[in-house]
């Protein structure tokens, strides 16, 4: 009998344990610790170069303890971010948001603290390049994110392959090829005729750069789909697909395994190159191609930006003021220069762009060129911030890029355009 009783108790305990286990959730991990310190958490993805900086901040602020959550890849990180925003808890006090995902939350300003209200008063928009600041502001004017880094665009090219095709690689000639998109495609035709090889990696890599130079993105300011109303988008599309059809595209999807192989094989001669792309080129093309790739301070139609992030303080945070102070400190020029030295993430702060640390940076793989100076110049060439309405990033990823890929795989440009429009209409209704 006794053992039976014990079994009842064991069953009851098991039951209680199960209920208890399933009932308790993650409370987000922020609050006051036993020692009375304020516990802040920060969420980043890939490498922001913040490890040492956070230690320094803790040392300078004895009342603050920081937990750093790092996610390896940007994709899963932003999915988590959105899910936790939707759930209403579980987010860090400071969260990083990548530029490409910013349009997902730009109209959800109620979920974020307005940095203009809670941030330190001495942190003003003029700390950043204007276009960077503008792109961190939500649809209703809420200042959602402090800019961290940027990805100003320049053009990478295979010096040896251009020369083999009879294209001159002195500065003046390069400025000529990369002056406008028309001249870029014209040079491409010349290259293809001489070598029979592709000029760029894929249609969508070129199209995205062209698209980013327009005043308005895929969505108009009144939240309507611009794909059909904005004729410039279609014009760009026609130009790219026509050039691709003339053999200029290598049809390699960016960041796919075959694209990586393409760098080794010299499958294309030019590449749109944001600052962080230099590392990618070096890693993929490998030491055997050292000195063959070069980068020049010219980009068709001026300049552009691809990549870079923001730090935001969600409403869920229990210590918004302290979190904003931390975010403000991390995005100050000095700290971003330190992060740049560690990871190569290009700073977005005006003052940082003229720092000697930055301007003295050279890249051996690309023939010892002064990349610091080169990308500073390119950062200042970026015009004004493009208005990216809600759904913009999704249209890029799920409508335009697949459609351009379909054209490369044999669809007619007209069919491809229709596919893009249909897909975009499902995203922006």
């Amino acid at each position: 009998m006794r053992s039976n009783q014990r079994r009842v108790f064991a069953g009851a305990i098991a039951l209680a344990a199960t209920v208890g286990l399933t009932a308790c959730g993650d409370s987000g991990g922020s609050g006051e610790s036993d020692s009375g310190k304020i516990e802040l958490s920060i969420g980043t993805f890939t490498e922001f170069g913040y490890e040492d900086l956070l230690k320094q901040y803790e040392a300078d602020h004895s009342n603050i303890k920081i937990t750093h959550h790092k996610t390896g890849e940007g994709g899963p990180y932003h999915e988590q971010l959105l899910t936790k925003l939707a759930a209403g808890n579980g987010l860090e006090d400071v969260v990083a948001i990548e530029e490409g995902h910013f349009s997902d939350i730009s109209d959800k300003t109620q979920l974020f603290n307005n940095l203009a209200d809670i941030g330190p008063k001495d942190v003003k928009p003029d700390r950043w390049l204007d276009w960077k600041y503008q792109a961190g502001v939500g649809k209703d004017g809420t200042w959602i994110g402090y800019g961290t880094d940027i990805g100003p665009l320049a053009m990478c090219y295979r010096k040896d392959m251009l020369e083999a095709a009879g294209l001159k690689t002195d500065d003046a000639s390069l400025q000529g090829y990369f002056a406008s998109w028309d001249s870029y495609f014209a040079a491409g035709d010349q290259y293809v005729q001489k070598t029979g090889k592709p000029w760029f990696d894929s249609d969508s890599q070129i199209f995205n750069a062209m698209q980013n130079q327009l005043d308005e993105g895929y969505v108009t300011k009144d939240d309507k789909l611009a794909l059909e109303s904005n004729k410039d988008i279609k014009k760009n599309y026609d130009k790219v697909t026509a050039a691709g059809g003339r053999g200029q595209t290598a049809k390699l999807v960016a960041f796919s395994p075959e694209w990586n192989t393409g760098f080794k094989q010299g499958a294309f001669a030019t590449k749109t190159c944001p600052s962080w792309m230099l590392g990618v080129v070096e890693a993929q093309a490998g030491p055997e191609n050292k000195g063959k790739w070069a980068v020049t301070a010219a980009f068709p139609n001026g300049g552009g930006n691809w990549g870079g992030s923001y730090l935001a303080v969600p409403k869920q945070s229990k210590h918004p003021k302290e979190a904003a102070e931390l975010a403000a400190w991390l995005t100050a020029p000095e700290q971003q220069i330190a992060a740049f030295k560690k990871t190569g993430n290009f700073p977005s702060q005006v003052e940082a762009l003229s720092s000697p640390d930055l301007l003295g940076t050279t890249n051996e793989y690309f023939g010892g060129v002064n990349t610091g100076e080169l990308y500073s110049t390119m950062a200042e060439k970026v015009g004004k911030a493009q208005y990216k309405g809600p759904g913009d990033g999704k249209i890029q990823e799920n409508a335009m890029s697949p459609a351009l890929q379909a054209v490369e795989q044999g669809k007619s440009p007209e069919e491809g355009w229709q596919q893009a429009v249909d897909a975009a209409k499902k995203i922006v209704k």
Partner: protein
Amino acid sequence: MTTVTRRASHQGVAPAPPRKPRLTFRQRLSVADVKWSPYLYIAPFFIVFGVVGLFPLLWTGYLSLFDRELLDAEGTFTGFANYAELLRDSQFWNALVNTLSIFVLSTGPQIVVAVGVAALLNTRLRMPTGWRVGVLLPYVVSLVAVGLIFSNLFGSKYGLINGLFQLVGLDPVQWQSNRFASHLAIATMVNWRWTGYNALIVLAAMKAIPKEIHEAAMIDGARAMRRFFSITMPLLRPTLIFVVVTSTIGGLQIFTEPKLFDVMPGSNNGGSSNQFQTITLYMYQTAFETQQLGYASAIAWVLFLVIIIIAVANFLLTRRIASTGAEDAP
């Protein structure tokens, strides 16, 4: 589990005498123990199932009646509008066809080969454990590694298979853009991974078949083939039904393989024109990329129904196939 419950209820209820004697507290406690503790023991499963299985299922059904975005605080009730829209959604039908096509290309050959492999493993081999572990190995390999390997095999431009094709003078196959070729490639990934696993389940069932039946048949002069089809197959019926139903459920929910197969990293599009987007992939994209939670919930429910229909159909079919010839078996 059922036998325990039954025995318990016999002890607890059946011997109740016509007139009730007064029981001491201890006795009553022991009666309660016998009567209720079996339920307590199985309760954890049902509670966990209720929390992580049934509740999400019903909540999804509830959500599917709303027009709601992921970040919206609440949605607007729209009744069955999501379902009506789904029936008109060409992308959904496209995904359904893709799913069924990949399912047929994977589950069919997989089970036939699994039974064959199990039959081979059932013969006298040196180092039987080594062979068994060998067939299970693909199942242990992480899916991401599988994706990496297969994207190298099935690369359109620098892929190994196309390289071999070109070596012998054949045209390269467009594994990504050709709809059927892409389904074939994904099905190959699934088969590679699951055949060994299913073979081991079938093997376990084969081992359970009494030797005497085979010996009796041998004395009657039945050859190996005849014994396989007249003895082994019919007696494998319950196991085959189990394998078919589980691989139906798995096969119709196929997600990771097509996601990893897409050359566009992280894409949920299933190819440039959704040529290999499965229903789960479409559902995931709708929920977490397009962020239409209500619509995604409707897709989830329709997928649930489709799986039930096909699983039941498969169950009936397998019962039929495996039972032909079973009549003359003991």
